[in-house]
Amino acid sequence: MTASTELAPADGVPAVLRPHAEVAFAAELEALEAFDAEEGRPRPPRWRLSPWSVVTYLVGGTLADGTVVSAKYIGSRRLMEVAVATLTTDRALLLLGLPGTAKSWVSEHLAAAVSGDSTLLVQGTSGTAEESIRYGWNYARLLAEGPTPEALVPSPVMVGMERGALTRVEELTRIPSDVQDALITVLSEKVLPVPELGREVAARPGFNVIATANDRDKGVNDLSSALRRRFNTVVLPLPTDVEDEVRIVTTRVADLTASLSLPPVSTAAEEIERVVTVFRELRAGVTADGRTAVRSPTATLSAAEAISVVTNGIALAAHFGDGVLRPADVASGIVGAVVKDPVADAQAWQEYLDVVVRERPGWGAFYEACRDST
């Protein structure tokens, strides 16, 4: 994607490729803040917005003064209400779901709307150590000065506790179990002892944790029941209907092409619908009309993959094509997303092409393009 950034016009280039949510949507957050003040809606301690406004920020809406709040999460309002309500209680929030169901996305926006800061983040991996949940030391200073507050390197969790802000833990189940256990103390006692300094950090109101976990990796480091009990679980589902999924892809693609400064490209709607249809059919193992069974490939085919296929296609169309998104522009992306296993997936894809795509009226050009790039 470097090519596209270089080719982009100099004016209107965003300062960073992907600004944090609280920056990108600063105007909306301010409008909601003002609205809360006007309506006198109560805010929990150290919350930037009222719970109602946080939900509105997530699912979108129009305020009384005409301000339009864009939808960040497209799907059930009810789920977002449960998520936000959870953050006002004693329990932490666990967002669970298949890959690409907007868990990280929702978590970031929640942190931005509630605490005005989405950067307190622990990225979970198998190498995540206890220091990233508790605290570490600056060894140079530790050796020079001994254990002093200045030598201590606080974790994002510790910072969140001190500030009374939301802290995010991504991919919780990838974190080794003994490190996960460090979270239990934090979540149940709401204090983090620092015996070396003879003190402890007590969480200020407003602190809470949002964790995300992928339920495909079940069993990697399954959450202990003790930890699970500290969380309320919200399962983010795959989009229920095509319309929702097309909306998700369309809005996200528009955001992304804007931030990549890609020139506008026409007839995207038709291709987006096609990509979404292909992904949904392969995922469900049956065509949209329910008549033909198809084989599901091993790859995850979520809205996230659809977004990246379309964005790639737009880049191709803008820089190497005629500025119109054509079947050929998305074809290679689709093949790349679907065929992860060179044998099994390739066969499933070939079957899908021959049985479903070839027969479908108006899909001729797409069929040709896919055959060429397979």
Binding site: E81, R91, T233
Partner: protein, 792 residues
């Protein structure tokens, strides 16, 4: 007595002579408010929306044996399928009203159209939820609303917001007729109408009666919706005319405080002054009627969830029952019950989690702008806190608690069809319960009580009363002492009982009569199957007549194949008879006659068959052969001799299809009547017919014959040699047939066979043992392929 006269009556109470309580059907909130309102009004007559033909049944309300959920069932006795139900739960306001009156010995009756009218052929639409006429007002509602500008209307009072307009108003209109209070709740942002009632209707009134407000709001709503048209509207007009006439009659009888309990929608048109009676009398004149019978039947919560005679069904009867019964802290009590349910399923739920769930439910309600958490909020909290987001675990709770499995009870004294009384007595005697939850029951037919249970179930099946269904097939149960049944009682079976009642007054008599009635016009096979079922159901009278009919048909039916189809069922029946200790002499005699007739006609039936017919005849021969075996076990050895003799005579015939030749040979080999099987196989495979014919012979002979192949090296060698000698094309042609044959072998048998072939036959001389190894190897490989394929 006119209203004016009433008002001058010094003894008249301070309140009006008629008080209308508009309720939400099955609404626990209205039920609770209603009881308080009745206490305050202290009526001397209570009229409830429902069919007055059922008035005599009201005396059972209050009887400890009548436990809701129950339903009034009205049916046309000569056509019981024409039936309607009026279900009641403990928390139904109608039920509470009747109960209130019965406890205080106050006159109580129904005031809607009689079932005699609604069940009349032209009256059906009165009960149906017709869609016509629901689509809009005929006047301009905006103009009418203008009149009320200035002060806050009752609708607005209940909504806490301006009355809906435009699109909202249209939606409201669509819902209003069925569940107007639910529609108001929805317009007010509540998806749980009962929590809305608690919060808005009761909560804002500090314990004064909510009914005047409801009445006023319904008046406005009716104006908003406007005049409706079509058949549905006509039916509504008739119902309301009837209600007014019933109220007038009560006043005429001298009642001075008449409480009317009806769906809120009707309330505004039932209040005093009722106006002149003449137009109502005109509306009702000439309505068609028919004879109906009413009774109480047990109902279930699950059935309450479906739609019923009281308009739309409710989706959460368990939750409503809970709201009605738990007078305080319903959310806490509910979530505690949920935790109990989950623990019962080995899902650990701590008290701390219950506390968190309560907090989440309440926080959610606040976030949604609802002062009280409703079913939606407790469900969200259950899913997220107690079930770790698991929909499956949540579904347990939904099924067990939100809907619930409650089944009502009806006392024995309630008049009902005699058949139902007999069924009730029989089930009691046999210690069976009619339960809504499915369960399976194992019977040991050597025990008296189990035998009787089995007979009862079979009789009910003959009556098409689907309470018990065999969990294993009838055939499988042949000659064993065990039967497994799946029992599940659906309340609608009450109708099936009434329908079956036309056949007789006891289960046995009805089933016998039913069998007699269907004998006419049944084919021989059908008759034989019915014989079988009769025997299982222990209906000796029906059996005699059936057997006579069988013998008759057998004499008339010239088609041997029909006879053959009938034999197995009869033979099985004779066998059951033994297990059950029934006298089966007549049955055995009939079966034997049928076999003899079959023997006489078999030769004719087996000439010149094409491939498909050959398969059919082969199957029938197999079935009859098995049946003859059963009969022989019962002592009919001469029949067996005759049958085998027939087969032996047939097998030599050249015009017999190869499949049958193979099969008959095999049956005779099994019966040890043919000592030279290898020679016959050799002959079948050697002469110059087509490969396909030989393969058919092989199929006939070897199907189910793995044992023969494993233990007889000569047969094995011959077969192997034949396959090896096939040309390429021939091989391809016969492969499917041969595969099909081996497909009938079990995996173990196939493996044993493959071993024998691979290890050069320890059990005997190897086939073509003198041939060089290089020649044998491919043959073995081929055989392996065939065996492997059959294994798949």
């Amino acid at each position: 007595m006119t209203l004016a006269e009433l008002e001058t009556d010094v003894a008249a109470p301070p309140r009006g002579p008629v008080e209308v309580f508009g309720v939400r059907h099955h609404g626990p909130g209205s039920a609770r408010s209603l009881v308080a309102a009745l206490d305050a009004y202290d009526p001397d007559c209570v009229l409830v929306e429902g069919p007055p033909d059922a008035d005599p049944l009201l005396r059972f309300v209050g009887d400890p044996g009548l436990v809701p959920p129950v339903a009034l069932l009205a049916y046309a006795p000569e056509e019981p399928r024409q039936a309607a139900f009026w279900p009641f739960a403990e928390f139904s306001p109608e039920w509470q009203a009747i109960l209130w009156a019965r406890r205080r010995e106050v006159e109580v009756g129904f005031c809607d159209l009689p079932a005699a009218m609604t069940l009349a052929p032209q009256g059906r639409t009165l009960l149906d939820e017709a869609s016509d006429g629901l689509d809009g007002p005929d006047g301009s509602d905006d103009a009418e609303r203008g009149e009320e500008a200035g002060e806050r209307s009752a609708v607005e009072e209940l909504l806490g917001a301006p009355a809906p307009r435009g699109g909202d108003a249209a939606a409201l209109r669509r819902l209003a007729g069925r569940d107007p209070l639910g529609a108001l709740a929805q317009a007010g942002g509540y998806d749980d109408a009962e929590r809305w009632w608690e919060d808005v209707v009761e909560g804002r009134l500090d314990s004064s009666s909510p009914f005047p407000l409801v009445l006023e709001a319904m008046g406005e709503l009716r104006r908003l919706v406007g005049q409706r048209h079509g058949r549905y509207a006509e039916g509504e007009a008739r119902r309301e005319a009837m209600m007014r006439q019933t109220i007038r009659a009560a006043l005429k009888r001298g009642r001075t405080r008449v409480a009317v309990v009806c769906g809120a929608w009707h309330a505004p048109v039932l209040t005093a002054p009722l106006g002149p009676a003449a137009p109502d009398a005109r509306t009702l004149r000439g309505a068609a009627k028919r004879k109906v019978v009413c009774t109480w039947v047990p109902w279930t919560h699950r059935r309450l969830a479906a739609s019923s005679g009281y308009g739309a069904g409710i989706t959460s009867p368990g939750w409503y029952a809970h709201l009605f019964e738990a007078r305080d802290a319903p959310v806490v009590r509910w979530l505690t019950a949920v935790a109990g349910e989950l623990r019962g399923r080995d899902l650990p739920v701590s008290s701390a989690s219950v506390i968190e769930a309560v907090r989440l439910a309440e926080t959610l309600a606040t976030l949604r702008g609802r002062p009280l958490a409703g079913l939606t909020e407790v469900t969200d909290a259950t899913r997220s806190v107690l079930c770790d987001g698991d929909e499956l675990a949540l579904r347990f709770v939904t099924d067990r608690l939100v809907v619930g499995e409650r089944l009502g009870e009806v006392p024995a004294a309630v008049p009902t069809v005699p058949l139902e009384a007999d069924l009730a007595a029989t089930t009691r005697r046999l210690r069976l319960k009619r339960e809504p939850a499915a369960r399976s029951l194992d019977l040991d037919l050597r025990r008296g009580i189990d035998r009787e249970r089995s007979q009862l179930f079979h009789r009910l099946r003959l009556l098409e009363l689907a309470w018990a269904a065999p969990a294993t097939s009838d055939v499988q149960a042949t000659g064993t002492f065990r039967e497994t049944w799946r029992l599940q009682w659906h309340p609608e079976l009450a109708i099936a009982v009434v329908e079956a009642a036309v056949w007789g007054t006891t289960v046995e008599a009805a089933a016998t009569a039913r069998v007699d009635a269907v004998v006419e016009g049944q084919s021989l096979v059908e008759l034989a199957r019915t014989v079988e079922r009769c025997l299982l159901a222990a209906l000796p009278d029906a059996l005699d007549r059936l057997l006579a009919a069988c013998a008759d048909q057998a004499a008339r039916d010239a088609d041997v194949l029909h006879l053959m189809e009938a034999v197995p069922a009869l033979a099985r029946a004779a066998r059951y008879g033994d297990v059950r200790g029934t006298d089966t002499t007549a049955l055995r005699q009939t079966s034997e006659v049928l076999v003899r007739r079959t023997c006489a006609g078999l030769a004719r039936a087996t000439t010149g068959l094409d491939d498909d017919s050959a398969v059919r005849v082969r199957d029938l021969v197999d079935a009859v052969h098995a049946a003859v075996g059963l009969l022989a076990q019962e002592g009919a050895t001469d029949v067996r001799r005759e049958w085998l003799g027939t087969l032996a005579a047939l097998v030599g015939r050249a015009d017999l299809a190869p499949l049958l030749q193979g099969r008959l040979t095999r049956l005779l080999v099994d019966a040890e009547l043919v000592p030279d099987a290898p020679a016959r196989l050799h002959r079948a495979l050697s002469y110059g017919s087509a490969a396909a014919a030989k393969a058919a012979w092989v199929e006939g002979f070897f199907t189910d014959g793995a044992v023969l192949l494993v233990h007889d090296p000569a047969l094995r060698g011959l077969l192997d040699g034949w396959v090896a000698g096939l040309g390429d094309e021939e091989f391809t042609d016969v492969l499917p047939l041969v595969r099909r044959t081996f497909g009938t072998f079990s995996t173990v048998q196939r493996r044993a066979l493959a071993q024998r072939l691979a290890h050069g036959d320890a059990a005997g001389p190897a086939p073509d043992a003198d041939g060089p190894d290089e020649l044998v190897a491919p043959v073995l490989a081929t055989v392996e392929t065939i065996l492997e394929a059959g294994r798949g």
